[in-house]
Symmetry: C2
Subunit: 385 residues, 2 copies
C-alpha cells in the first residue's frame, strides 16, 4: 500500500508573517532589536498573560542565561532541576559556574517530582528550576512553598508551556510563566508559537526589572538613556546581546495575534489522539499523558510512554516503516557524556524511564484528521502484533 | 533656511531580502537555525575571504562568547584588548571569569597600540583581542609575532571590518578576520552588511572546528549526528544557542550577494568626505582617518578627531542645529562605571582622546552627494566661526 509520508513537525504560518516582516524591513526603519515589533510582542504577552514584565530574546536558551546572570549565580552555587530536560536548562547555569543538582521526574508525568526537591536542598542551593514538560504544569503551590521556606528563587522553564495554566489550591488560575520569580519561553520552530529561533524572559519579581534591561542591552544602561533617565549611556554591568532582530519579532507578532486559533486547533488534535488511544492505555499497553488536577493541556505535544525501550524501539520502527515520523525525546542529563562523571546523586528512575520509553507523535497545526486516525490505527496494529 | 534632515544611519536594502525570507519561510520548510540560508551565507564568506571555517551567530557579541568558551577562558586568565571598543569585546570574556587588561590605542588611528602590548603580558595572559576599528587593520604581522613568541591566541574583533585587508610584510594581502586564530564579525544594522542583529564566528585554527560546532549547537554533537558520524546525539560540552533563525540568514544572504556593489558605494562616500575635508586637516583644525600602509579603507565609517572635547561638543551641536546627525562613539571601557574601580593600569591617553574627540559622520549607502557636500560645508563653516 502506498502511504503518504507524515512528518513529525511542520511549522505553521498564519499568513501575516511576510506582511509584518515586510513592514519591519521596509517601513519601520529599524532592523536591530528592541524596536516596534519587539515592543508589540512584549506588550501582547504582558496583556494576555498578566506577566509583570517581559523581554524577547534570541532563544529560550538565551533567556535562561539571562536568568543565571540575574540570579548572580556564582561558582559553587547549587541549582536544582529535573534531569529530564533540554541541555540548555543546565548549560545556562553551568556557564556561570553552578553545580547542577538533578532531580527525578514524577511517576505519572515528566514534571519535576516536587516531593524529591526538599532532600536536595543544601545551604548552597540558590534556585529551583522547574520545567513544564509538554506544557503540563508542575505543582507550583508546593514548589513555591518550599522555595519560600528555604529562601530560594524559582525559575519556570516554560519553553513548551505557552498558554497553559496552573490552578492554585485557592482556585486561582495562573498562566504558566507568571508564578516563579523568573520564567522563560521558547519560540523555536517546534513550539506552538514560533519565530524559527526565539524566546522570551518573563520577570515577575520587580526587583529584577532594571538589571534585566541592562543585561539584555549588553550590560549598558542604553534603555534608560533612550527614556531620558540618564544623559549618556555606558557600561554598568555584565551583559550580552540577547535581543532578537526586528524581523524575528515581526514574524512572532503574526503568530501571537493568532494564538487562540492555533491553540484551539492543536488542542483538537491532542484530544483526537487521546480519545483514539485511550483503549490501548486501558488494556495496559502504554501510558498516555496525565493532565494533573491543577493543570491543563496546551496542545504542545502528544506523547505516550511505552513499557520498555525494546517496545519503544519496535514502535518507532513500525511507525517509520509506515512512513510516520515519531521520535523519542530527552536523554537523562545526569547520564550524558558531559555529566556522568560529575553526577553524585541517586538513581533517577522516572527520568530514565521517560528517556527510554517516551515517544512523541506528529503534532502540528496542519495535521489532518485522516493522518491522526491513521497514526492511531498503526499504533493499535503494533500492539496487536 | 529649511534644511533636509540627514540621519546618521539608514539600513540599506538590496531588494532581494523579502524574496529570500519568503523563500525560507514558505518553501524551504525550516525556520530554525543551521538551514539552507545559514549554510549559503557561511559558504559565501568562506569562498570570498578564504576563511577556514565560519558559523553564523545571532550577534557579534555571541560570536565573541563562543571565542571565550573555545579558548577555555577560566577565572584568573588575562585577556589583553583595547579600552576603546564596544562593551561586548570585554563582556564576553568577563562572563567566563577573565581579568581584562586594557591597552591603549595608537596615536594615529584607534587600533590597539601594538607596541604597548608586550608590557601587559604576564604568565596568566591567554589571548590578545584586537579590534579593527572603522575597518582599519591593526598591525597583524607585529601582533601575530608577539602572540607566537608568548604562546597566546589572537582574536580579531572584526565587527566593523568586513571586506577589509591587511598587507603582510611579504606582500601577501589577507582579508581581515582570516589572520587570528579566531575572528568575529557583526551584521548589526549599523554595519556595511546587515541582518538587523547578526554576526559570525570565523575559525582559522582547525583545532577549534569540532568543538565550535558543538558549542554552537547548545553543547550537543547534533551536527555530527546529522552527518551520520554518531548514532544519537547528546550533551557533550558547554554550549549555548548561538544560531540565528533562518529568516535572519535569508536576509543576510541578499546582502552578501550584493557586497561588491555595497562596498563600492560606501567607499565612494568615504572618499568624497575625505577629499572634501582634507583642507581642514591641512590647516590643523582636525584629524581625518589614517589608513595604515598595511591596510585599506572598507567604507565602514567616516570619522574625524577634534582637538578637544569642547570643540567636539560644539561641532556636534552645530551639525545638529543644521539637522545633521553626527555622533560620538565609545567611551574608554577602563573608565566606565562598571570597570573604573577594577582598573589597575596606566593612563590610556589615546583611548581617552578618541572617547572625547572622535566624531562619526552620517554614512550609509543611500547618502546622496548633495548631503555629503552639505555636511562638509557645515563642518567647514564651524571651523571658520
Amino acid at each position: 500500500m502506498d502511504y503518504k509520508n507524515i512528518v513529525f513537525n511542520k511549522p505553521y504560518l498564519t499568513g501575516k508573517e511576510n506582511h509584518y516582516i515586510y513592514d519591519a524591513v521596509n517601513n519601520k526603519g529599524q532592523l536591530s532589536g528592541n524596536g516596534f515589533y519587539t515592543n508589540k510582542c512584549q506588550e501582547f504577552l504582558k496583556d494576555k498573560y498578566g506577566f509583570e514584565n517581559c523581554l524577547l530574546t534570541t532563544s529560550c536558551t538565551d533567556a535562561l542565561e539571562m536568568v543565571a546572570i540575574l540570579l548572580r549565580i556564582q561558582p559553587g552555587d547549587e541549582v536544582i532541576m529535573p534531569s529530564y530536560t533540554f541541555v540548555s536548562t543546565a548549560n545556562a547555569f553551568i556557564l556561570r559556574g553552578a553545580k547542577i543538582v538533578f532531580c527525578d521526574s514524577r511517576k505519572d508525568y515528566p514534571a519535576i517530582d516536587e516531593k524529591s526537591i526538599k532532600s536536595l536542598i543544601t545551604d548552597k542551593t540558590k534556585a529551583i528550576v522547574v520545567v513544564h514538560y509538554a506544557g503540563l504544569a508542575c505543582d507550583m503551590d508546593y514548589i513555591m512553598d518550599i522555595a519560600e521556606e528555604n529562601k530560594l528563587f524559582v525559575v519556570e522553564d516554560a519553553a513548551q508551556a505557552i498558554d497553559s495554566y496552573f490552578e492554585s489550591s485557592n482556585g486561582e488560575k495562573k498562566p504558566l510563566g507568571s508564578i516563579g520569580h523568573l520564567s522563560t519561553f521558547s519560540f523555536h520552530e517546534t513550539k506552538n508559537i514560533i519565530s524559527g529561533e526565539g524566546g522570551a524572559l518573563v520577570i515577575n519579581d520587580s526587583s529584577f526589572f532594571q538589571r534585566a534591561e541592562i543585561i539584555w542591552e549588553k550590560g549598558t544602561n542604553r534603555s534608560s538613556f533612550f527614556r531620558g533617565e540618564v544623559d549618556k549611556y555606558g557600561w554598568v554591568d555584565f551583559g550580552s546581546s540577547f535581543l532578537p532582530a526586528e524581523l524575528v519579532s515581526a514574524f512572532l507578532y503574526a503568530q501571537l495575534e493568532n494564538i487562540d486559533i492555533i491553540q484551539n486547533k492543536r488542542k483538537e488534535i491532542w484530544t483526537r489522539y487521546f480519545n483514539g488511544l485511550k483503549a490501548l492505555e486501558e488494556k495496559g499497553c502504554l501510558e498516555l499523558p496525565k493532565t494533573p488536577s491543577y493543570g491543563c493541556n496546551n496542545g504542545h505535544m502528544f506523547y505516550l510512554v511505552c513499557e520498555n525501550i525494546e517496545q519503544r524501539t519496535g514502535l518507532l520502527k513500525f511507525l517509520s516503516d509506515k512512513k510516520i515520523k515519531a521520535v523519542f525525546h530527552y536523554q537523562s542529563l545526569h547520564k550524558s557524556e558531559f555529566f556522568k562523571d560529575k553526577y553524585e546523586g541517586e538513581e533517577l528512575e522516572n527520568s530514565d524511564r521517560y528517556s527510554n520509553c517516551l515517544v512523541r507523535l506528529p503534532m502540528f497545526f496542519e495535521l489532518e484528521n485522516e493522518s491522526i486516525d491513521r497514526i492511531i490505527d498503526v499504533i493499535k496494529e503494533y500492539y496487536t502484533l
